[in-house]
């Protein structure tokens, strides 16, 4: 079927599109402005306050992640049992935990760790998943079948349990949490990359590249792959949020990073025991910040998609 589709009828480019952007394009494009994309980006963002919000939020998170440890008011791991479980106050904005540690400082310092987990896990899975997905999408045949089966097999596992299993097997360390999170994200990148490449492969610039003497691999890497990047960026952003949730879930079960390291998921898990007894701040603040971070990445994914392809946004 796929090959026959190449034979499909050429629909004449007529002006029936209701969206006058296209028509305007052909008129104005002879005199494109230098700041074209900047204007466009600005316009899209100003049209969509939520995207703007998410980008600002993202920058704040990054900033906090980088600088947080230098300006937090208290040592995030120094305990002082004389002030354990104090409610939020001016001194301790988010209160203190059962060891008298400042929750605010811990939440701030945890930012770097959580972002690092998410970033490294997603980078690994993006690298592996995209490579596999590109091969499957471009060469099809046995590549597609085998890689497709790999993705299916991973997906046939209950993913969270798979991650738990991996951490349980390898031991619960930061690295293993990252590996586990990376592994369960791989099939999503395989799918996106494969789908993207399959679409791009049918574009004629691919044939043009082959005619210009590019080998198949070179065509895939230097011609098709760059055009798949936008879609992959969107996926990466969405998966970042997911990776944070996953790492937090592992911590909640008790398979996360090691104490006394501050991490949002552990803090929620530890705090969970204190809700009923009234120490709500232990759960609430890390939980909210965790939620906000994931929220930010999800919206950021939207914002990126909006910039890349306004039609596709969901």
């Amino acid at each position: 079927m796929g090959d026959l589709l190449l034979n499909k009828k050429v629909v004449r480019n007529t002006d029936t599109k209701l969206d006058p952007e296209l028509s305007q394009h052909s008129q104005n494009s002879a005199t494109p402005e230098q700041h074209d994309w900047r204007q466009q980006t600005w316009y899209i963002l100003s049209q969509n306050p939520i995207s703007m919000f998410s980008i600002v939020l993202f920058l704040i998170f990054i900033l906090v992640g980088i600088t947080g440890p230098f300006w937090v008011p208290f040592d995030p791991i120094a305990s002082d049992t004389s002030i354990a479980l104090q409610a939020p106050s001016f001194l301790h904005l988010f209160g203190t935990d059962h060891l008298g540690r400042d929750v605010f400082s811990r939440v701030v310092v945890a930012t770097r760790l959580d972002l690092w987990i998410a970033l490294s896990a997603v980078s690994i899975s993006a690298l592996v998943g995209t490579s596999l997905g590109c091969l499957a999408g471009y060469f099809g045949g046995w590549y597609d079948r085998i890689i497709g089966r790999i993705a299916d097999t991973i997906l046939a596992f209950p993913l969270f349990v798979l991650a738990m299993g991996i951490v349980a097997v390898l031991g619960n360390s930061l690295t293993n949490v990252i590996y586990a999170t990376a592994l369960i994200n791989i099939p999503f990148f395989i799918r996106v990359a494969r789908a993207e490449v399959t679409i791009q492969r049918n574009h004629q610039y691919v044939q043009a590249a082959l005619l210009s003497g590019n080998t198949h691999l070179r065509t895939l890497v230097f011609h098709i792959f760059p055009n798949c990047l936008p879609a992959l960026m969107v996926q990466m952003s969405l998966n970042m949020g997911w990776a944070i949730l996953n790492a937090a879930g592992l911590s909640f079960i008790g398979l996360g990073v090691r104490p006394p390291v501050a991490e949002w998921g552990i803090m929620v898990a530890e705090g969970a025991n204190y809700i009923i007894s009234g120490e709500w701040w232990l759960v609430l603040f890390p939980g909210l910040i965790l939620m906000l971070a994931v929220f930010c990445f999800n919206l950021l994914g939207d914002a990126l998609r909006d910039l890349v392809d306004p039609q596709k946004r969901t």
């Binding site: 969270f160 299993g165 097997v169 009923i276 759960v283």
Partner: protein, 328 residues
């Protein structure tokens, strides 16, 4: 048929994974005061003294006879554990999914009909916030507010409150079984227990469904056939619900499948919070106790479920979309 290699893959990976779990089950189950001898005795009983390969052969042989082994942790045969617990998870997941659909599809349509307005933004923020909330966090908050503070919800102690007896098993869904049995009181009690955990799941599932509804509806609403139907003066309601929504169902079905299998996985955390006796909490306990047979059984059931789910989605697809036919 296409699922067979995946299933085999799952079986092999699950086997290797569980065998590499740390801890020696023989030691664990020999009991607190066991000595070398009794540990060795138990190791032999469990067949752990054989080579890994041999163990795998035995495992496969048992599998073909429907014998999933015995969970060391709960002492029950894995098959009976799973058959008792799986309906619990399924009932919860399906209820969660149904709640999510009931809320998300109208939201998605609302957003799609008013794209880029404050309604759209609000829907998006609402559902995204839901998807961004860690499932254990929302579960804990719901319990705290609705059970502990307000007392509206029943205690989070599983499928039935104390004093109710589980209805005779027909489907394994307590609400349905109780109604079959004519015991509406128990059915009501079971439904009450379901509400909070199902909402917890639903909150998480809102986003993918609502967003897919929105985008599929936008695509459909922007399509040529909707334009043509509008030009032909077809009623707007009919255009939205018959023309656009039915077409939007197609991508929605795919996402529903994904959401469903994700929710089944997410049960692990919800069941922990709500003491729900499903397969998720079973799996976690088994994993922590290095209880191979139970972990393997769980993974196998989930994989089979995944395959069945895909099949169901395919069938639904063919029902909704005449262009798709069942391919081998």
């Amino acid at each position: 048929m296409l699922a067979v290699p995946s299933l085999i893959g799952v079986i092999v990976v699950a086997f290797v994974l569980t065998r590499s779990l740390p801890g020696d089950p023989a030691v664990y189950f020999a009991g607190i005061t066991a000595d070398e001898e009794s540990i060795a005795q138990i190791r032999e009983q469990l067949g752990l003294d054989k080579s890994i390969f041999h163990q795998f052969i035995v495992y496969c042989k048992n599998l073909t006879q429907g014998n999933l082994g015995v969970s060391l942790n709960t002492g029950q045969s894995v098959a009976s554990e799973l058959s008792a617990r799986f309906p619990a998870s399924l009932e919860l997941t399906l209820t969660g999914l149904a709640l999510a659909l009931m809320a998300a599809i109208p939201l998605g349509i609302l957003a799609a009909v008013n794209p880029n307005t404050w309604i759209d933004h609000l829907c998006r923020i609402f559902v995204t916030a839901g998807a961004s909330t860690p499932i254990f966090f929302s579960g804990l908050l719901l319990v705290f507010v609705f059970y502990y503070l307000l007392g509206w919800a029943p205690s989070p102690i599983g499928r039935l409150d104390f004093f109710y007896l589980s209805p005779p098993k027909v489907t394994g869904f307590y609400t349905i079984d109780a109604m079959i049995n004519g015991d509406f009181e128990t059915a009501a009690a079971a439904a009450k227990q379901l509400i909070l955990p199902a909402i917890t799941l639903a909150i998480f599932a809102l986003a993918p469904i609502a967003r897919m509804t929105r985008s599929a509806m936008l695509t459909a609403m922007g399509s040529e056939y909707v334009k043509a139907a509008t030009a032909n003066g077809i009623d707007r309601r009919k255009i939205i619900f018959v023309y656009a929504l039915r077409n939007a169902m197609l991508p929605l079905l795919t996402i529903m499948g994904l959401v469903f299998s994700y929710l089944l996985g997410a049960n692990v955390l919800v069941e922990k919070v709500f003491s729900w006796p499903g397969i998720g909490s079973f799996a976690v306990d088994a994993l922590v106790a290095s209880d191979f047979a139970a972990v393997q059984g769980f993974i196998l059931v989930m994989a089979v479920m995944f395959v069945v789910l895909n099949l169901v989605i395919d069938i639904l697809y063919t029902l909704v979309d005449p262009r798709v036919s069942i391919d081998g």
